[in-house]
């Protein structure tokens, strides 16, 4: 099965003719993802290394049966791009673009949620189901097929942990970056729910960071609904309070949202928390070993 992206993914890339969009869109195709279309207004009729470009997502959907979009347009145009995709019938939106205005994203979230749309990002690295499909910027070459589902708020940190898993011989069902912006389309819980239901996933690694209370909520959800083992990592133990650490998400105000508080919440629900990416990979390896 895998989650979010798989062999049934038919991808349209919004912004495929841009420098980054083209680089990563074509890399996704080279990996084996069905990249069926690109959309760039005014460039309809052209192609990007054989991938047809359309003026609108509606045309792309009609002509190619695209069901998933990767949004690679600048942040100021991303909200428009997302609405365009959703209104054209796209069911899965993966928004790589970062720095959308928070109010815009809040409206998008509340618009798409009751409509059953799946969204990752903004400010996410995408999703990779090794051997099936890669949508986004995750460097697929460092991952292999397997049974560990990874869900993360952070892009590069995910690669780090996935890389260490691979070094220990553990492969992945899907690696899901939910994104680091203050409002993102999917929460940890949304993805945990999918991993729990996914036949291929036997073990889940959750990569959190300071700020917000998503990790605390995930802890409560895991205790109630997740039967598969979960290993967690939290970044930001040394972050000073009140400072924004890059991600708009990663800010600690006062006492709530600290790495320590999140670690304790997870451990209280029986989730093992590693203190370094290396330790997380070790914990995952021993847990996986114990199960097989």
């Amino acid at each position: 099965m895998a989650v979010i992206v798989d062999g049934d993914t038919r991808l349209v890339v919004q912004g495929l003719t841009g420098r980054e969009g083209r680089f990563h869109g074509l890399r996704n195709r080279d990996y084996g993802t069905s990249v069926v279309a690109g959309v760039t207004p005014g460039k309809g009729g052209q192609d990007a290394d054989g991938v047809p470009i359309f003026d609108t997502v509606a045309e792309a959907v009609e002509e190619t049966g695209a069901n998933t979009t990767m949004v690679f347009v600048p942040a100021r145009f991303a909200a428009d791009a997302i609405y365009e995709a959703v209104d054209a019938g796209i069911g899965t939106v993966i928004c790589i673009a970062e720095g959308l205005a928070a109010h815009e994203m809040l409206r998008i979230y509340n618009y798409i949620r009751p409509r059953g749309i799946t969204m990752l990002g903004p400010n996410c690295p995408g999703a990779l189901s090794p051997g099936k499909a890669n949508v986004g910027i995750i460097p697929a070459e460092i991952f292999r097929e397997g049974a560990v589902g990874v869900v993360s708020r952070s892009g590069t940190l995910t690669y780090q942990i996935g890389h260490e898993l691979t070094q220990r011989g553990l492969g992945n069902s899907t690696i899901v970056g939910i994104g680091g912006d203050p409002v993102v389309g999917s929460s940890f819980i949304d993805i945990l729910e999918r991993f729990e239901a996914d036949d291929e996933t036997e073990l889940i690694v959750l990569v959190g960071e300071i700020g917000g209370d998503e990790e605390e909520k995930a802890a409560a959800y895991i205790a109630e609904h997740v039967t598969k083992p979960v290993i967690a990592y939290i970044a930001g133990f040394t972050a000073p309070p009140g400072k924004t650490m890059g991600h708009a998400g990663a800010i600690i105000s006062g006492s709530s949202g600290t790495a320590q508080a999140k670690k304790e919440a997870l451990e209280a629900r029986g989730v093992q928390v590693g203190t370094t990416p290396t330790e997380v990979a070790d914990l995952a390896a021993s847990t996986a070993g114990a199960r097989t």
């Binding site: 100021r76 970062e98 650490m245 370094t276």
Partner: protein
């Protein structure tokens, strides 16, 4: 971006939320002149982007212009939680019968806008939430629904505000605060205290206002309110170069791509016995010039004894970062040793570029942990 009290109040005023008359002053004579123009007793208030100024002696009542000048003299230059007072807001003094609290924030968890109102104003809201939660009326608003009058009613009745004249004024303030919040792309608008005067007039006596950095491009008038001097000089320099940089107190300069990985690097440095000198995120697209700029910012900190590049490339490409490092070495005099760890997109190409150029004092390590240990060793 945080606004000063007086800037937040200016926005309140534009949206029809009643505030007291006031003037900005940066010197004691300006404070005197402001007090003269306003007339009557005034309050001299330190303008700093931090809390606790009251306890720190940053807010004083002045009976007349001479007194205002004297009070200004005492407040200017105060250090409040590391923020030096350079601006004062001289405001007509208010008689206060009651102190309420009203705020609107961006609730990330609930994915909703959150209103809070309580008659227990004038203290920290966290304290009210902890000690008298029943006194705190909270209401989430779906942004697609937008403001509806019932929201104000639920808050007002929920907070137990019974006086019809107060209800009427606060209902209007709640509505205008929603508009203000949405139309300025704010993340937080807090009025604490929202006072009721002995005559029954409701007014915002303070403002705490945070605007979404990602939306500032839509609001040039708010963007203009940014006070570059409010930030430490290193962070200011970084911002000018478009580098995400936070100054910390250690010796190992850190530079990575992606906030999560950089935070994790900080943690690992601490775990292996070092102290991070900064948080510095090259961001997603990190080009060669970005690397040069970031190195310039990091090396400007004299505490830095070694520099750690921790790059796990996705959208970033290691070859581009390698070129940036070489370019920086050719442009800036960097005395500290540099430790580099590359993985991900074009990692081999990047390592090759560095191996080919083989600059002195540059160490390539295979893993994050190895690199962290090496950087800490080199800083010792």
């Amino acid at each position: 971006m945080d606004l000063y009290e007086y800037q937040g109040k200016e926005l309140f005023r534009r949206f029809g939320i009643p505030v007291s008359e006031g003037r900005l002053a940066t010197t004691p004579p300006e404070a005197r002149a402001a007090a003269e123009e306003i007339g009557g007793p005034v309050v001299v208030k330190a303008q700093v982007l931090t809390g606790g100024r009251g306890k720190a002696g940053g807010v004083k009542l002045a009976d007349d212009p001479g007194d205002a000048e004297q009070k200004a003299e005492g407040i200017l230059g105060l250090d409040i939680n590391g923020h030096v007072v350079r601006k004062l807001w001289i405001e007509s003094a208010s008689e206060i019968a009651k102190e309420y609290y009203l705020s609107i924030t961006f609730d990330r968890g609930a994915k909703r806008v959150l209103f809070m109102l309580t008659t227990e104003g004038g203290v920290e809201i966290e304290e009210v939430a902890a000690t008298k939660p029943e006194a705190l009326a909270r209401l989430h608003v779906d942004p697609l629904e937008g403001f509806q009058p019932y929201q104000a009613r639920r808050l007002i009745y929920g907070a137990g505000i019974a006086d019809p004249e107060e209800q009427k004024q606060i209902a209007k303030i709640v509505e205008q605060l929603y508009r203000c919040f949405v139309e300025t792309d704010a993340m937080l608008c807090e009025i604490n205290p929202l006072i009721v005067t002995p005559e029954g007039e409701v007014r915002a006596l303070d403002s705490k206002f945070t605007v979404d950095d990602n939306a500032l491009y839509k609001h040039p008038d708010v963007e203009e309110m940014r006070d570059p001097e409010a930030y430490p000089p290193e962070e200011r320099a970084a911002r000018e170069k478009g580098v995400t940089y936070v100054k910390l107190d250690g010796e190992v300069g850190i530079l990575g791509n992606g906030a999560g990985l950089v935070m994790s690097t900080l943690d690992v440095i601490a775990l292996v016995g070092g102290r991070p000198a900064n948080f510095c995120d090259l961001g997603g697209g990190g080009d060669a010039q970005g690397v040069v700029d970031a190195l310039e910012v990091i090396t400007a900190d004299s505490q830095v004894r070694s520099i750690l590049f921790n790059i796990f490339a996705g959208i970033t490409r290691c070859d581009v970062v390698a070129q940036g490092i070489l370019e920086a070495l050719s442009q800036i005099k960097i005395e500290q040793p540099i430790v580099v760890r590359f993985d991900g997109t074009n990692a081999e190409e990047g390592r090759q570029i560095l191996a080919d150029a083989a600059p002195p004092n540059l160490h390539v390590e295979p893993t994050m942990l190895d690199a962290a240990r090496r950087a800490v060793e080199l800083a010792a």
